[in-house]
Symmetry: C2
Subunit: 129 residues, 2 copies
DNA sequence: ATAAAATCAGTAATCGTTACTGATATCGAT
DNA sequence: ATCGATATCAGTAACGATTACTGATTTTAT
């Protein structure tokens, strides 16, 4: 069950690395199809899942019912704009201490957390004016 | 478009209030059907959405692809067990300060955050022994 | 009681995603 | 370089959660 090289997988990862807006599977499909017109949506899903499983990309569940994907696998947080739905990387200091706060009165074992922030992005704030 | 009273909606909310494990729409349906056998799954979904919209219950998106519902609308955090999938309320001090941490270098406006914790619950830790 | 309209049960449709199928591409061994 | 095993493919069907539709039934203000 060794992993074999595939042109399609490369294209998917290359496309993802070229974007910093965390596209969905469908957006990946639309774009990769521009240069590889006969690629299948199933192939996109399969490879995104595979790449996420082997840790080369990150799957983001941001509560909008659709999975987003991010080629940046470093630990970082995301902001989701309530107006435009855009997803933006946040540069911020580490907040892992919230796990210790949560652990204090809890008898299970906390190993991680999922956090994202929401509000209005700079772009949408300007648009209102 | 005034809200009218409905027996079905009451039963759904009553059931939800009787549980602290944050059931899914399907679980609500299964249980309410025990006492109201001809209730429709669509009715359950419609009323859960309506109750959430008017703020009487909370919709939880915990990343497992299914919506969970909680009659406790106070702000509180949840723990999701990686082993059994169970959802447990956490008693913990306020961590809203993470929003200020996130805001520091961000030019949009952060109004909220979504956080949940994961790991192994006490029950599953004992089961391993 | 009556009538307008919110709600219902039942079912079909939608959407994101996954599974299946027979064909194709990759890659280590020859 | 070619072979054979098998991972991957394109295409499509199936899936599960959720939403939308429809004509019948309840609710509630008059």
């Amino acid at each position: 069950m060794a992993l074999k090289h595939s042109k399609q997988r490369d294209m998917i990862k290359d496309f993802l690395m070229s974007r910093k807006d965390h596209p969905t599977a469908d957006v990946v499909y639309m774009n990769v199809r521009q240069i590889q017109p006969n690629i299948s949506l199933g192939t996109v899903y399969r490879n995104l899942t595979l790449l996420a499983d082997i840790g080369e990309i990150q799957r983001l569940r941001l509560g909008d019912g659709v999975d987003h994907f991010d080629a940046d696998i470093s630990e970082h947080y995301h902001f989701v704009c309530n107006d435009c739905g855009g997803v933006i990387d946040l540069e911020m200091e580490n907040i892992d201490s919230i796990q210790e706060v949560a652990q204090k009165k809890f008898d299970g074992h906390i190993t991680g957390h999922v956090t994202h922030f929401y509000g209005t992005c700079n772009c949408c704030m300007k648009a209102v004016k």
